[in-house]
């Protein structure tokens, strides 16, 4: 048997391979560090610079409106809250329902009817498609259908309907994952005791997948809080607190946009940004907490 290469060549080659590995490993450490620093830089800058503008007065007084940029953010906090409640209220039952059907019922149905089977695979495809559509398209859609055609105008109603379409795929997907994680034995156990399918789902499967569903809902709350493009074209921009669902308004994120672009009140905009970033951090922590519950719950059984 001949050797591959001379001993010196092998020796030299090994040294080179080792140093190349050292170099590239160091490089990926640097890449990781850059990514982390970007996060620190953006969050740190916004919270430190923006934090200067934030105090109780900022949070509790209404913006003055017009081009002054004066005042606080209280009404925009209120509008954000309304919009979150409405959007989540509309999208959660629909999204959870869709996910339950697609995971729990689709299998049995598809055995009997080719039409249903086709519909189900189209529905799965539609969810994927919805997840990829950019938010400005949802905005355009909401503008064309809710604002103009249905004459809801720039209002909480238009915005929350468009927003519900936007977060629907998120809720469907996370719920689907949560349902898939529930062991089949639970279902069989309940069905074997004479429960109907819906009783089984309602009493056994849904409670077991609740943390996963909640994760989806919290994710969607975050999405609504940070979304701008959809609401920019469906919610109007009034700085007043809406008094009915037919009133327009502006969310925190929209307020930030108006402050930065229209009034150039960068310090107030940064303050608003700081409030937003803190909210997003809290939401991420909440998701982390709930999903840890989820894994612990499934392991514990």
């Amino acid at each position: 048997m001949t050797t591959l290469m001379s001993e010196e060549a092998t020796e030299r080659d090994l040294k080179m391979r080792k140093s190349s590995q050292k170099f590239w490993f160091a490089a990926t450490w640097i890449f990781g560090a850059i990514t982390f620093s970007i996060l620190l830089l953006v969050i740190g800058y916004v919270i430190i610079q923006g934090g200067k503008a934030v105090n109780w007065e900022f949070l509790s007084t209404a913006p003055k409106g017009g081009l002054s940029g004066e005042g606080g953010v209280s009404t925009t906090l209120g509008t954000t809250l309304y919009l979150v409640l409405l959007t989540i209220g509309i999208s959660t039952p629909l999204g959870v329902g869709a996910a339950i059907y697609l995971i729990e019922y689709a299998g049995e149905q598809s055995l009997t009817s080719p039409v249903l089977r086709a519909l189900i695979s189209i529905a799965n495809f539609a969810v994927e498609t919805l997840a990829g559509i950019p938010s400005i398209i949802y905005g355009l859609f909401g503008y064309a259908l809710f604002v103009s055609a249905l004459r809801f105008g720039w209002s909480l109603l238009s915005a929350s309907l468009a927003g519900a379409c936007l977060v629907l795929p998120t809720i469907i997907r996370t719920t689907e994952e949560a349902l898939l994680a529930v062991p089949d034995d639970y279902r069989r156990g309940s069905l074997a005791l004479g429960a109907t399918k819906w009783q089984t789902l309602y009493k056994v499967v849904l409670p077991a997948s609740l943390p996963g569903i909640i994760t989806g809902v919290i994710l969607s709350v975050g999405r609504v809080i940070s979304e701008t493009a959809v609401f920019f074209v469906t919610l109007g921009g009034s700085h007043r607190l809406p008094t009915s669902i037919m009133d327009g308004g502006r969310t925190l994120a929209l307020h930030l946009y108006y402050l930065a672009m229209d009034t150039r009140a960068f310090d107030k905009a940064m303050g608003t940004g700081a409030v937003l970033v803190v909210m997003i951090i809290l939401i991420n922590l909440a998701i982390d907490f709930v999903s840890r519950k989820l894994t612990a719950g499934l392991k514990g059984r």
């Binding site: 391979r17 080792k18 190349s20 590995q21 590239w24 490993f25 990926t28 640097i30 890449f31 990781g32 850059i34 990514t35 970007i38 953006v42 969050i43 800058y45 916004v46 610079q49 629909l94 999204g95 329902g97 869709a98 059907y101 697609l102 019922y105 519909l119 189900i120 539609a126 498609t129 919805l130 990829g132 559509i133 950019p134 398209i137 905005g139 355009l140 859609f141 064309a144 259908l145 055609a149 379409c165 629907l168 795929p169 109907t196 399918k197 819906w198 940070s226 701008t228 920019f232 074209v233 946009y257 930065a260 960068f266 940064m270 940004g273 937003l276 970033v277 997003i280 939401i283 991420n284």
Partner: protein, 302 residues
């Protein structure tokens, strides 16, 4: 039939309706956006809209080529800046980072994905734009493709990183031990076995990043300058191209929709149609690649 049987049936139909709601929404989106754009395609003409560089609604000129170009240019810039960083981070997270470091960096990447786009836009306006403005070139306002590309690169970073990391982690460990047992170094194992095996998923991540970049709206409006011009170098130096202002397809829609009427409004919907089609094509190709990746994984045990 007992009540609970009736409930069981009724629930099934209600759930079925919510399941096909997604189909209805997709169709409704496509229908409304297309329907509203028909007037523009008819009155202005498809060729006129897609290939004319001038967008001047006041004078009934509705060419969106400059915006298509702007969207493509800023996406290209973001990919150039963002992809190496994202892939480097994904390799680091998937193959190299010690558990403790990974436990910190992964949530950090997730958090990066959650930051609102207006916050990125504001950060760009307040921090990046003044820095870019320091580059001493006549006509450089600081707002433009460079600042926008940097902001966009950061925004697509988490998308690409997490999908690429998933693809890397999905590569079976037996490939790694097989390679190491043949005398490959860990780095050789990564570049010659792990990355090629995860290639489809990694490319899908990049394509989804492209989709995300094309669709980004508010942050782009805030830093790209929004001038309706065909981006071009400011001086003879071709690199000054990136200091040029631009407008994206998304920005065009968002900035003008609230006051547009008639053909102008319809032309904005036509802009939306172009964007919609672009994104569908991009995302479909990513999905195709991902399905190919899972094929590779499942045929492993031949």
């Amino acid at each position: 039939m007992s009540t609970r049987m009736i409930v069981d049936k009724a629930v099934k139909y209600i759930l079925f309706i919510s399941a096909i709601l997604s189909i209805i929404i997709v169709l409704a989106i496509a229908f409304f956006i297309f329907q509203e754009s028909v007037q523009a395609w008819k009155e202005i003409g498809v060729g006129e809209m897609l290939f004319k560089r001038v967008w001047r609604p006041g004078q009934d000129q509705y060419g969106i080529l400059a915006m298509i170009y702007g969207s493509v240019a800023v996406t290209f810039g973001a990919i150039i800046l963002g992809v190496p960083l994202a892939l480097g981070t994904a390799i680091f997270l998937g193959e190299i980072a010690p558990t403790g470091v990974r436990a910190v960096l992964r949530p950090a990447v997730q958090l990066l994905a959650g930051i609102p786009s207006v916050v990125y836009g504001l950060f760009g306006m307040v921090v990046l734009v003044p820095m870019v403005r320091q580059i001493n070139v006549p006509g450089n306002s600081g707002y433009g493709l460079l600042a926008a590309s940097i902001v966009l690169a950061v925004m697509i970073l988490p998308t690409i990183t997490s999908i690429a990391e998933d693809a890397i982690r999905a590569v079976p460990d037996s490939y790694r031990s097989g390679s190491l047992a043949l005398g490959a170094t860990r780095w050789q194992t990564i570049t010659k076995v792990v990355l090629p095996a995860g290639r489809s998923g990694i490319i899908a991540g990049i394509i989804l990043g492209v989709g995300r970049a094309l669709g980004e709206t508010m942050a782009m409006i805030m830093v790209i300058g929004n001038s309706v011009i065909f981006p071009s170098p400011l001086t003879k130096n071709p690199l000054t191209f990136f200091l040029s202002q631009a407008r994206t397809l998304t920005g065009n829609i968002a900035v003008e929709i609230s006051y547009a009427t008639g053909v102008h409004e319809s032309a904005l919907f036509a802009t939306g149609v172009v964007l919609f089609v672009l994104i569908i094509v991009v995302n479909a190709s990513a999905r195709w690649l991902i399905s190919r990746q899972s094929d590779v994984q499942t045929t492993r045990q031949g």
